[in-house]
Amino acid sequence: MTTISLPRTAVPRPRLALGTEEATFIARSLIHTIRTPDALIMAVALPVMLMLMFTFIFGGAIESDGSYVNYVVPGIILLCAGFGAASTAVDVARDLETGIMDRFRTMRIRSWAVLTGHVVSSLVRNLVATGVVIGVAVAVGFRPVGNPAEWIAAIALIGLYILAITYLYAAIGLAAGSSEAANGYGFILMFAPYLSSAFVPVDTMPTWLQWIAQNQPITPIIETIRGLLMHTPLGNEPALALGWCALILVIAVVWGAIMFRRKAGRR
């Protein structure tokens, strides 16, 4: 081998310019997303299948005039985001498993930025999937009535929700320690939308379930999206929705930071 001819310093290498780590890790995670299309396909295919099932199989029984699609689409969108975000837990756990996280930790970088890379690429992936789901929904009879401003607000809320639960999944990935375990824990969270107003109105549920469905974060988020796109009454749902998203985000970031320090430095 030949001599390495880069300048060598006896003093520590300087810190990287602001944003370099983030940009590098976001690029890395986006390449991962493109190269492992199964995550993206799952994030789109499963919700689309569910939507077709709900509108064509259950839809007739629930509302025989075919308007069920207008009711169910906001729930399907959140379900879709849940599927897509869940793979973040596996991605993060895999970085711990393969030892590449350890290598990052011996370098003079903010290795925490690895998580930012995963979260941002998940956000991009899920917004794309959301777009596809809305497209299919329109094709099967979804007729939203929202104006552009309402659309923007709805998409911003969906983005915020994706961000919050992706961070939550990233923390789960750190806590799980292995990609198999991360996959399992992630699965549990994906059932949350079923216990909300996503698929059936809450007042059709047994009383004890009503209490859960009324007071869990998914319901106000869905009601807000419904209000914006379908002009159902909004009430105080938007405030609750934003509050829940912010709360989940803060908990996830704090928990993630604690887990990162513990897991990445587990020895």
């Binding site: 081998m1 030949t2 001599t3 390495i4 880069l6 060598r8 310093t9 006896a10 003093v11 520590p12 290498r13 300087p14 990287l16 370099t20 780590e21 590098t24 690029a27 890395r28 390449i31 991962h32 190269r35 492992t36 393969t98 030892g99 590449i100 350890d102 290598r103 990052f104 930790r105 011996t106 370098m107 003079r108 970088i109 430095g265 020895r267």
Partner: protein, 295 residues
């Protein structure tokens, strides 16, 4: 910067088992030091502490003058590491791995791309540059992992069993690379299970066992500690039947030969200089006895 590595009374336990029980180690700048010891002796643990991955329980460790506990940031700014198990991104190609790491080492896009091209050629990965690492063989992965440590020339480089899994040619090339680095002033601390490697490459050898440094010195000094020549008895097809270490004196040699004679085995006798294997065997045997009598 006097000493590149300065370790005093370093201790580390994992769940009640003491792995490092007071390691003292000083490595001069610009030297190549081989860390030897049986499996589980704590070589990787020591390297992990020095590279800020693991926190010690006691003692002090400084790298290029920076304390690993008080100033890990600066330590990370002066080291390079290739660990015992590969730490590369399997989804990316070899080229993408090197460019990503180059960026994280502070090179700009152009520099990182150029550096990647050079290193892929140097490490014999030019043809696989655009293949995903998932499709690499074990040895290719190892070479990529090593190439990452050579992106920038750090003042202190840690290599944990760098040549494990490499073919003989790659091993020789890596030795050259390490020597070149050493000559340019980089301090290299490497672990190995191959004693000939330590013998060829290292300025000094440190043998650890029982959580402590057992012996330390230049390869020649270590060989001298086992005493003198070794008498070997070999059979008709040159297979080794017995070997007896001697103290190097004429009467010692005669005693050894008499002993072989008394064993009535047929064969030829050869006398050879002691090797590092002999040092390793005798020293680790001593260490084991010491532990046995302690426990």
């Amino acid at each position: 910067m006097a000493n590149a590595i300065d370790v005093r009374g370093l201790r580390k336990s994992f769940g009640g088992t003491e792995v490092l029980a007071g390691i003292d180690l000083v490595v001069e700048s610009g030297s190549i030091v081989a860390l030897l010891g049986p499996n589980g002796a704590g070589k990787t643990t020591l390297i992990n502490i020095l590279s800020t991955l693991v926190k010690p329980d006691g003692g002090t460790a400084k790298v290029a003058g920076f304390d690993v506990l008080r100033d890990p940031e600066s330590v990370r700014g002066v080291i390079g590491l290739t660990g015992q198990s590969a730490a590369v991104d399997e989804v990316l190609t070899g080229d993408e791995n090197l460019r990503m790491m180059g960026r994280l080492f502070g090179l700009d896009r152009g520099e990182a791309a150029a550096r990647s091209r050079d290193l892929l050629a140097q490490f014999g990965l030019g043809d696989s540059a655009r293949k995903r690492v998932k499709a690499y063989s074990g040895g290719m992965r190892r070479r990529l992992d090593l190439a990452i440590s050579f992106i920038v020339t750090p003042p202190v480089l840690f290599l944990d069993e760098p040549t494990t899994g490499l073919d003989p040619r790659s091993r020789l090339e890596l030795w050259d690379g390490i020597r070149t680095l050493g000559a340019s002033g980089t301090t290299v601390l490497l672990t190995t299970q191959y004693l000939d490697e330590a013998d060829q490459l290292a300025d000094r050898i440190v043998l650890i066992g029982g959580g402590r440094v057992v012996v330390e010195g230049t390869p020649a000094e270590l060989k001298a500690t086992t005493g003198g020549e070794v008498v070997e008895l070999r059979g008709a097809s040159d297979e080794l039947i017995r070997e007896i270490p001697t103290d190097g004196t004429v009467s010692g040699l005669r005693r050894a030969i008499d002993e072989l004679d008394a064993s009535e085995a047929e064969g030829t006798i050869t006398i050879r200089k002691p090797s590092l294997d002999d040092v390793f065997m005798s020293v680790t045997a001593e260490a084991r006895e010491l532990i046995d009598t302690k426990g």
